[in-house]
Every structure is written in structure tokens, then in C-alpha cells.
């Protein structure tokens, strides 16, 4: 796979994020978060720019980006729904919640609905075990999920 030359727009927006965060100690992860905030994902064209700025190799940046689930390599839907699939939530009926949400949205995990409204993702522990089963919609946590709440969520993201 040949690397496409970076478009100037992505490069300049990437550089702006880098310049803001470069001074931090261990700046790579904050920069990647910043870029994901900027673009909604981490564009492949940003990677060599980061590598150049931090004086590390393209491979190193790629290794870090692909290690973390949270960094996407393409844009997500308008909403991101994360359903906790970790042990406590599974014990509290998480499996049926997972099945139901896939049914309601018509997509599997790691997929985005055809209308681009929502991306469904599994997550492993939101630290909300006391309120299991739990989920996170666009950064907001939701506890004690049940069928009703799921339908509400589905309706909201579809609207």
C-alpha cells in the first residue's frame, strides 16, 4: 500500500493541533486525541505529519494508533453508542441488551448504520458496574439499561 500524499488541508489542521500540544510531556496520545476531536477520526495523512513533528518514525505512530480501540481510521456516525460487554454487565443481562441493541439499530458491533446516524461499539468496562448493565452515548454514561431505555436511545439517535 502506497501512502497517499497528504492533502494540504488535513496537514494544516493536523499541524495546528500538534503545535498546541507538542510541549506536553509524552505528547503523542494527547495529539492523537486532539486530532480525533478535530476530524472525528485520525486521518492516515496526519500520521507522517505527527511523526515528523515529534521526530519519531511513521511506524511508531501507526503502532500507537492501531493499539488503541478509541482511535478511528475513518469517521464515525453522528452518534456513538458504546455498550459495555465486560463481566459485571454480562452478569446483569448484558448479552440480551447487546443482542437487542443490534436488532434495534440493524447493525453489528463496530458498524455504522446506513444512514450514518449511529456507530455501535462494544466497550470493556465503563467503571459503572454498580449500575450495570451500562452504556455510553456520545460521552454520556447511561446506567441500568433495559429494553425501554434502549428503545428510547434508538429513537433519539435515529431522529
Amino acid at each position: 500500500m502506497a501512502v497517499q500524499p497528504a492533502s494540504t488541508e488535513i496537514v494544516s489542521r493536523t499541524s495546528a493541533v500538534i503545535n498546541e500540544l507538542k510541549g506536553l510531556e509524552g505528547p503523542l496520545l494527547p495529539i492523537l486525541h486532539g486530532i480525533q476531536d478535530e476530524f472525528g477520526y485520525v486521518p492516515g495523512e496526519s500520521l507522517p505529519v505527527i511523526a515528523e513533528a515529534l521526530n519519531i518514525s511513521n511506524a511508531e505512530v501507526h503502532g500507537v494508533v492501531t493499539f488503541y480501540h478509541d482511535y478511528r481510521n475513518h469517521p464515525a456516525g453522528r452518534h456513538v453508542l458504546k455498550i459495555c460487554r465486560a463481566e459485571a454487565c454480562q452478569a446483569m443481562g448484558g448479552d440480551s441488551i447487546a443482542a437487542r441493541v443490534q436488532q434495534l439499530l440493524g447493525v453489528g458491533f463496530h458498524e455504522t448504520t446506513a444512514d450514518g446516524s449511529v456507530t455501535l461499539e462494544p466497550i470493556y468496562c465503563l467503571g459503572l458496574c454498580a449500575c450495570a448493565p451500562a452504556a455510553m452515548l456520545d460521552g454520556e454514561v447511561i446506567g441500568r439499561l433495559d429494553e425501554e431505555k434502549l428503545e428510547e436511545i434508538a429513537a433519539e439517535v435515529r431522529s
Binding site: 507522517p48 521526530n55 519519531i56 511508531e60
Partner: protein, 959 residues
């Protein structure tokens, strides 16, 4: 013979001097503090099972196979990451450990193909060995679930499976065989320093990825082979091993490329070379290699190699193949005729920096004793002759002061006019390793080379000077050191001549040498010069490494002297981590100089006018030697054009392509009556030859090469010469045909003669090299083990000599017609004139010479990236493609000279160093303009070359 098996201790050696004693499986062993249990155990002769550990890289602790139990400690720590402690009692084999290891192995094998019989690594697979070592008998998990092994699982496409990457010409990457031990990634980072590999993904999805999920060829990979060597499985495998099979015996020899002089194991199957593997005991490379030495040996068996002697009356005739005897008789007859007709001094010869010391010695002996003149020169004339002069004048020896290991103690490295990442890659890797540990770097170079900034290294100061202003800039550094009182007075008083220092201090203190003044002519900001000078003078151990960017100037010798002055001023001479180190271009250019290849010097740099020295050789050789220096290469060519020089014997050098002002070289060669070329291929010079004597490769003969650190390394014959004779035998037979009674039966006898006649080689012999591995000259009764570091207690010449270094601008100046400055250099994948590397798959990286142009200069001229451009100077013109880059400064263009189609040396002028005639390759005033394709001259040249390579009875010309 057998295959040389090097012990893998699992983790690198500790440098601590304090010993720690522990018990491993009941045996007491004492090792340096900081050693891992794994290594200590191996020292005791007990090999702990391991997969992710190898002693070229730091411990990682991921494979969980090397676990041990330690009395008094809980759990089963990994032996690679656990350091030894006094009194520790270690058990490497217990019931608990056996069970864990078997379980770990079972999991590894459950995601690994079981095609061992047809696998390329069969016979050289650590995974296979470990399965055997832990007694794995069964894999209970099967292959039905998730795996990386099969393209399809249960009839469905398996997306975890990845196809084999065969993009690199020399090795393949088969992800299905990968156990994700990270050895390749760590080798690329720690040993090579390129950081081209990573592990992408996580958990079961982890895979090795070159670059950003690219193939190897398009990634940042430089194909050094460190990953292939580190791989414990068939995941990274040499294509030659896939094709041929495992080697059955190996021989340690020395690489025939650059002046680093890496030691390799030539691994053989019969007389077929399977692969070259860097040898860990090699003191120059310490187990590392670059793409040239590791992989680019295919030229040795290339179809264009000439294997039969050939002669012709005129250079317009086709070649006629003849017997060796006829060739020798013909040459001897012609040379004697020419001498009879035009005088004794009308013939001469050129020794080769690619041949062995022994061969070089014989060629100069043939010229001095057989031709009875001193018309001998070598290609060092066009590269490092100013080093010989400059260091000889100031310190008393014509060589670098350090060994390569010294860089591990350097705090501030200064690189002047060199790009080791391209031209001396293994040294660059060692330097980068030191830089990553915190050493500082100063780069003085017109271009922003890889050394200025690349992954994890960045020069503290880059001085992008205008080509040709070296002397001014280095003198300005001295100005800062002297005027700011940063010099080492005690060192200077003890080791140098104080009055000469005072004179030099007065000279450099003059305001015209100040950074502010020098900025005006060099373009280097004064602050950078001041910063660099302060850092070098006060940053601890300061070492200077320099290359042809220093020597190949009209003031090359002056710059070398200025560098030597800097080191003396700051006391950076005579211990580890400091020194002045010329990076030698060719494998044996140091040796060729040592062996008396210069017209004014007998072996060991002793002037030909010295009666005592001549006596030694006169009595041994039984001839009277001429006490006047002979002609240098440029003088030979001038004399040829004038009609007084008519015959030349050129061993292994392509002067037409490598020497400056190609047209002048052409004219000189064309004016001669007998040009004898001894080479592997019909090189460019051979287009003007009357006799061609086929040469032999470094794989086909015994001998020694001397590298840039004065290290005499053995070259060992691994196959019979395809042309029938080693180069030393060719010279010997030629000498016999000319009536000399030579009778060497083996190159070791030639080395014995060298040792007998040359004090700095007095204790060198093949037997001694066999025991020592290698040795650095001087090696004599005063230094029986050789001399890794010179000038320890004082300079060889007595007191170090400061010499004034007045900057005189070169006569080659830019003007309205030629407003740009051309400078030339090297690229990683190609070597010198490219005769060898162009005949290997290395052309995949660099298949033509290109011209680097700054974006502004390009825009002014309407040149786009990839355009054909015409490059013209006062000497000539050529065409090539342009690459637009700001690596070069405004007003500077840059190219390489690896390809004869371009002939960059048509452009270069015949200006040369005032002291040594070393040509000024690095500065030529040029103009660049858009062009449609090859110039008239290039077309004519190529046609002439084609005509000249015809061989009677062969349908096609050889190249």
C-alpha cells in the same frame, strides 16, 4: 569446516566491572553486575529456553518461555529481564517450569503452520528448536478457531490471514509464520536505528507492520537485514535461503564495500554462496550490516562478468578472447616496447582500493621493481589523499586516531562533510545508538542529511555551509574556542608545541575569522558557529568524523589540518571517545595508502627519497629504485595528452567514471598505446583499453583489507576464482612475463614480506590474525596487540603541530552563466561508480542519478519534480532528472555519480587540492535548465561504449 554457530547469550553483555556470583542449577558462576540470569546461565553452559530474547537487543520479557525459579523469591520470573544478585540460587528446570513452558509452546504452535518439512527455516528455526527443547508432543487446541495460518477457514475467507510480502528484493515477510516476539521491531530500533517496524493492533490481532501497514519496499525500511537476522522463525527469510536451502558451512571474511570493514560469515552450500551474515565478533560492525554488504553480492556471479582475458589492437576493434599466457606476453611485450621507444618513465600503474593489501603491494612492487619507476598512484588520490597529508603533518600518522568502538564513549560527535547514514551505514547505526543515549551531534554539511534529523536523533547544530567554505567555518570554530578561552591549555602545553600554538592562536583570533565575518561568506549563522564551537569544546569527549566533503576541495588538506587543530585545541586526542576519524570510502583505501601506492611513498608512508628505506627494498628485491617521486594520476593523464606517457596498468579502478573532468580522462586514455584494465566488468575505463584482464571478487581469494580504523581484517577465499586466477596471481604472472623472479605461493607470503619491510606491520602475519581475529596497525613489538587508539601518551611525530589555516576561496566561482553550486555525494543502496551495486537488485532503490534542486531555484527555472534537466558547467554538460527538495540549500544542487549514463564527472572541473591534487568534486559552478532528454555528448558516449564492448564471437556486447 562446518557452519560457524555463534552463541546467543540472550541479552547484551553488561559493561560493569564488579562481579556477582550466583548458582545456576548447582553450578557457581560469576558475571558482571547487571547481567541477566539468562546470560549468566548461558555463561555457565546452561541454555534456558527462549524465543523473544537475543543478545543483539535488550531484554523484552514477552515470550514467557525463559521463566526460572529463584530460591527465596515468589513466582517464576523471566530470566531475560531479571538481573543477577549475589548468592542467588536459580533453578532453570523444575516440574512447575516444565509445565508452564509446555503450555506456552502449545499456545504458540496452535497459531503456527505445521509445514516444517517444506519451510525455508527448516534447520534454522528457533521455534522448532524450542518445541523440541520443552518436549512439546501435542497441540490440544486444534486450528479450527481464530488463526493467522490459513487463507480460508472452513471455506470462508480468513481476514486475519495476510499474504506474504515479497516486495523487498532480498527477503520475504510471511505474517502467517510470525509469533510476534518483536525481535525484528527491536532490532530495527536498537541496532539499526531506523524504527521502520512496529507491532500494529493488539492482543491476538497483533502483527508486525513495516511503516504504516505498508509493504517493506515502500516503508522506511533500509534493508539492512537486522530484522531478518533477529527473526527466530521463517517469517523474515532471505530469498536466497528460500531458493537454495540452508547453508552447510561458513567462512568468516570481510565485506568489500565501504571503509567500515564489516566482518561477515559467508554461509555456503558447496561453492554456492547462500547468504552473508554479519559476524558478532567482528570488531568494526559488532554483528550489524547494511543492504550492500548483507545482500548486494550478486555481482560476483553476474552474467556480465568477464572471465577470459581479452586484447585488441585499437580501441575501435571488438575484443578478442585470448589465453592468460598470451595476454601476459602481450602486455609484457607492449610495456617493454613502449619503455624502449619512449623511455623508462612512459608507463605506470594504478593500484586498487578494492583489492587486498597483498595485491596492492604487488602492483606497486611491479611498478617500482619491474617498470623501474615510481609512476604508481591509487584512487585515494581522488578521495582521502588530503587526510594523509593533513594528519601526517600535524600528528605524524596518515590515519584515523580511533577504533569504531570509541564512539560508545563519545559525548559530542561532529560530522563534517560526510553522510554516514548513506555511505557508512553501520557506523551511522552505532553513532545513532550513542546519540539516543544522549550524546550531542554537530553536522557541518551543505545538505540536511539523514544525520541532521531522523527518527529519535537530531543534531544540536547544523551548519549548512556554502560548498567550498570549509576552511573558513572550521577556522571560525577555532576562533571561538581560542577567543572565549575554551581551549585545553594543559593538554596543549604537554602535548603540542607551545610557540606554534601561540602563533595559531594569534592567527585565529583575528576578527576576520570571527563567526560574524565567516557568516558573510559561508552563509552559516554566526550563532550556530558559536554554539557548535562551545558545545564541541565543553561538552565532554568530542570526536570528529569527516568524509569526502572535507577532502575533495581545492583546500582539502587545509581543512584536514584545521580539524586536527580543533582536536588539539580542545585536548580531544589520545583516549576513548575522542579523536579525528576520516570515514574512508572504499573497503581497502586505507590499506592501499599503507601499502605504498603513492608515487612518493614506500609502504608505511616512508618517503622514497630516504636512502635507508630504499635500501631495505633494494636489497630484498635486488633492484635499484628510483629516488624521485613518480607521476600522480592527473599528471599521468596530462603527460599522456602531451605524448610522453603511453602505457598504464589499472587494477580495479574505473578512472573514467570516478575521476574528475571525464573529457580530459578520455583524452588521456585515448592517447596511450597500451591501456591494461584488470576488473570484474568491462567498466567505463575499459572502453579505452587494449588489454582486459579479468579480476576476481573478494569471495575468490585470500588476503587482508584495512578499514578506516586501521584494522587489518582477513579476507578468506570461499570459492575458486571464476576467472581462474586471483588478482595477486594475475599481477605475479605479469611480473614474471616481464622477467621478475616472483614466486609467492600464497598471499600470506606477501604479508610476511610486508611485515618484514614495514615497521608498523612488523608483527602482522596470517597466523597472528588467525588468533587475534583482526589487529589495528601499528602492530609491532611496541604494540604487540595492535593500536586501537593512537597518540595516547603523545603524538607520533613528537609534539602536535599547529599550522595556520588561511581560507582561500576556490577559483571555481559562480557567476551569471553558472549561478548554482553543484556538490556530489553518495546514496545508501549504491556504491562508488556502481559497477558492483548496479549489477544487483539494489537498483530497485536507486536506478538513476538524480539532481536535487531547491524549490526556489527550481521555480525560477520552471523545473518540476521528475523533469529532465540539463546540468552544465564550464567543463561540460549532461542531463538527468530533477528532484525538488529543501534538503539542499538555496543556490546548491546535488547529485551522485553511481551511474555511467549520467556521468556527473563530465561536469566537475580539474581544480584540485593544493597539496595532494585531490580533485575538487564538491564544488562546481553550474547552471540547470529544462531539457528534453540525454545530451548529444551522452548519446555519443553511450554509442562509443556500446561499440567498444563488442567481443568477437559473442552476439551481444557485455553490458
Amino acid at each position: 569446516m562446518g557452519l560457524i554457530q555463534e552463541i546467543d547469550f540472550g541479552t547484551p553483555a553488561s559493561t560493569s566491572e564488579k562481579l556477582v556470583t550466583l548458582t545456576v542449577d548447582g553450578f557457581e558462576v560469576s558475571v558482571p553486575e547487571g547481567t541477566s540470569i539468562m546470560r549468566a546461565s548461558m555463561e555457565a553452559g546452561i541454555a534456558i529456553p527462549k524465543l523473544c530474547a537475543t543478545d543483539m537487543v535488550d531484554a523484552f520479557g514477552s515470550c514467557r518461555l525463559c521463566l526460572v525459579e529463584i530460591e527465596g523469591r515468589n513466582g517464576t520470573p523471566s530470566s531475560c529481564t531479571t538481573p543477577v544478585a549475589p548468592g542467588m540460587v536459580v533453578h532453570t528446570q523444575t516440574g512447575r517450569l516444565k509445565t508452564i513452558r509446555k503450555g506456552v509452546m502449545e499456545l504458540y504452535i496452535s497459531d503456527h503452520p505445521l509445514d516444517c518439512l517444506t519451510c525455508a527455516a527448516n534447520g534454522d528455526c528457533e521455534l522448532q528448536d524450542m518445541a523440541g527443547a520443552v518436549g512439546l508432543r501435542d497441540v490440544r487446541y486444534g486450528y479450527d478457531g481464530d488463526n493467522h495460518v490459513f487463507k480460508k477457514s472452513g471455506g470462508v475467507e480468513n481476514f486475519k490471514w495476510m499474504a506474504k510480502d515479497e516486495s523487498n528484493p532480498y527477503f520475504t515477510y510471511d505474517p502467517s509464520k510470525c509469533i510476534v516476539c518483536s525481535r525484528c521491531v527491536r532490532a530495527c530500533e536498537e541496532v539499526q536505528g531506523t524504527f521502520a517496524l512496529t507491532i500494529e493492533g493488539r492482543g491476538f490481532g497483533s502483527r508486525v507492520s513495516p511503516g504504516m501497514h505498508q509493504d517493506f519496499l515502500s516503508s522506511e525500511c533500509v534493508s539492512c537485514g537486522a530484522c531478518v537476522q533477529a527473526c527466530p522463525t521463517a517469517t523474515l527469510t532471505e530469498k536466497s535461503v528460500i531458493e537454495i536451502g540452508q547453508p552447510e558451512h561458513s567462512v568468516v571474511t570481510t565485506c568489500a564495500y565501504c571503509g567500515v570493514g564489516c566482518s561477515f560469515k559467508a554461509e555456503m552450500r558447496g561453492d554456492e554462496l547462500v547468504r552473508m551474515v554479519p559476524w558478532k565478533d567482528g570488531k568494526a560492525n559488532r554483528g550489524h550490516s547494511c543492504v550492500k554488504g548483507r545482500f548486494a553480492y550478486g555481482y560476483a556471479t553476474h552474467k556480465e562478468r568477464i572471465l577470459n582475458p581479452m586484447i585488441r589492437e585499437n580501441i575501435s576493434d571488438p575484443w578478442r578472447e585470448v589465453s592468460w599466457d598470451e595476454a601476459f606476453k602481450h602486455v609484457a611485450g607492449e610495456f617493454r616496447r613502449i619503455q624502449y621507444q619512449y623511455g623508462k618513465d612512459s608507463i605506470g600503474g594504478i593500484t586498487s582500493s578494492r583489492c587486498t593489501n597483498e595485491e596492492t603491494y604487488l602492483v606497486q612492487k611491479l611498478i617500482r621493481a619491474g617498470f623501474r619507476n615510481n609512476n604508481v598512484d591509487t584512487c585515494a588520490r581522488v578521495c582521502h589523499s588530503p587526510t594523509g597529508y593533513g594528519l601526517g603533518q600535524t600528528y605524524g600518522t596518515s590515519a584515523g586516531t580511533q577504533d569504531f568502538d570509541s564512539v560508545e564513549h563519545t559525548d559530542v560527535a561532529m560530522i563534517i562533510g560526510a553522510n554516514p547514514a548513506s555511505a557508512h551505514p553501520v557506523f551511522a547505526s552505532r553513532l545513532k545508538k550513542r546519540l539516543r543515549k544522549g550524546a550531542k551531534l554537530i553536522v557541518i554539511d551543505p545538505r540536511r542529511t539523514e544525520m541532521v534529523k531522523s527518527a529519535h536523533i537530531e543534531a544540536a547544530h547544523h551548519l549548512p555551509l556554502k560548498p567550498g567554505t570549509n576552511v573558513a567555518v572550521v577556522t571560525a570554530l577555532a576562533h571561538v574556542i581560542v577567543t572565549e578561552g575554551l581551549f585545553d591549555e594543559q593538554f596543549i602545553r604537554e602535548r603540542c608545541d607551545w610557540s606554534e600554538f601561540q602563533d595559531y592562536a594569534e592567527f585565529v583570533s583575528d576578527p576576520r575569522h570571527s563567526p560574524e565575518e565567516v557568516e558573510k561568506l559561508s552563509g552559516v549563522p554566526a550563532d550556530e558557529i558559536r554554539g557548535a564551537a562551545r558545545l564541541y569544546a565543553t561538552g565532554g569527549n568530542g570526536a570528529i568524523y569527516y568524509g569526502l566533503g572535507v577532502t575533495e576541495h581545492s583546500q582539502g588538506s587545509t581543512t584536514v589540518i584545521a580539524i586536527a587543530n580543533l582536536a588539539m585545541l580542545t585536548g580531544n586526542i589520545g583516549r576513548k571517545g575522542v579523536g579525528v576519524n576520516p570515514l574512508r570510502g572504499q573497503n581497502n583505501v586505507q590499506g592501499a595508502c599503507d601499502m605504498g601506492s603513492f608515487p612518493h611513498e614506500l609502504p608505511g608512508y616512508r618517503h622514497i627519497s630516504g636512502d635507508a628505506v630504499r635500501d631495505i627494498y633494494e636489497s630484498l628485491w635486488g633492484v635499484k629504485l628510483d629516488n624521485e617521486p613518480g607521476l600522480r594520476i592527473p599528471n599521468m593523464l596530462d603527460a599522456a595528452v602531451e605524448g610522453t606517457f603511453k602505457g598504464i596498468y589499472i587494477q580495479g579502478e574505473d578512472i573514467l567514471q570516478s575521476d574528475p573532468d571525464t573529457k580530459h580522462v578520455q583524452a588521456g586514455l585515448a592517447a596511450m598505446e597500451c591501456v591494461v584494465v584488470q576488473d570484474l566488468f568491462l567498466n567505463e575505463t575499459a572502453n579505452y583499453a587494449h588489454v582486459f584482464l579479468p579480476g576476481s571478487t573478494f569471495l575468490e581469494k585470500d588476503g587482508t583489507f584495512t578499514n578506516a580504523e586501521r584494522r587489518i581484517n582477513r579476507v578468506r577465499k570461499v570459492m575458486a576464482p571464476k576467472n581462474g586466477l586471483g588478482d595477486w596471481e594475475v599481477t605475479q604472472n605479469l611480473a614474471r612475463a616481464m622477467g621478475l623472479a616472483w614466486n609467492y605461493t600464497h598471499p600470506s607470503e606477501i604479508m610476511d614480506e610486508i611485515a618484514k619491510t614495514t615497521p608498523s606491520f612488523a608483527n602482522v602475519s596470517y597466523d597472528y590474525l588467525e588468533t587475534m581475529g583482526s589487529v589495528q596497525w601499528p602492530c609491532n613489538d611496541k604494540a604487540p596487540q595492535g593500536t586501537p587508539i593512537m597518540h595516547i601518551d603523545g603524538f607520533v611525530r613528537g609534539k602536535g603541530k599547529f599550522i595556520r589555516t588561511e581560507y582561500v576561496a576556490t577559483d571555481e566561482k559562480t557567476g551569471p552563466r553558472f549561478p548554482l553550486l553543484l556538490t556530489t555525494g553518495r546514496i545508501l543502496s549504491q556504491y562508488n561508480v556502481g559497477a558492483q551495486t548496479r549489477r544487483t537488485a539494489n537498483v530497485m532503490w536507486h536506478d538513476e542519478d538524480v539532481l536535487e534542486v531547491h524549490p526556489h531555484d527550481a521555480e525560477n527555472r520552471g523545473i518540476r519534480d521528475g523533469d529532465w534537466v540539463r546540468l552544465a558547467s564550464r567543463s561540460g554538460e549532461t542531463t538527468l532528472r530533477a528532484v525538488i527538495t529543501d534538503r539542499v540549500a538555496l543556490g546548491v544542487v546535488y547529485t551522485t555519480f553511481h551511474h555511467p549514463d549520467t556521468q556527473a564527472n563530465v561536469i566537475t572541473t580539474d581544480f584540485s587540492d593544493w597539496a595532494t591534487n585531490c580533485p575538487e568534486y564538491k564544488v562546481t559552478a553550474v547552471q540547470v535548465s529544462p531539457s528534453n532528454g540525454p545530451s548529444e555528448w551522452q548519446r555519443e558516449y553511450n554509442e562509443q561504449a556500446r561499440q567498444s564492448r563488442r567481443i568477437e564471437g559473442h552476439l551481444e556486447a557485455a553490458e
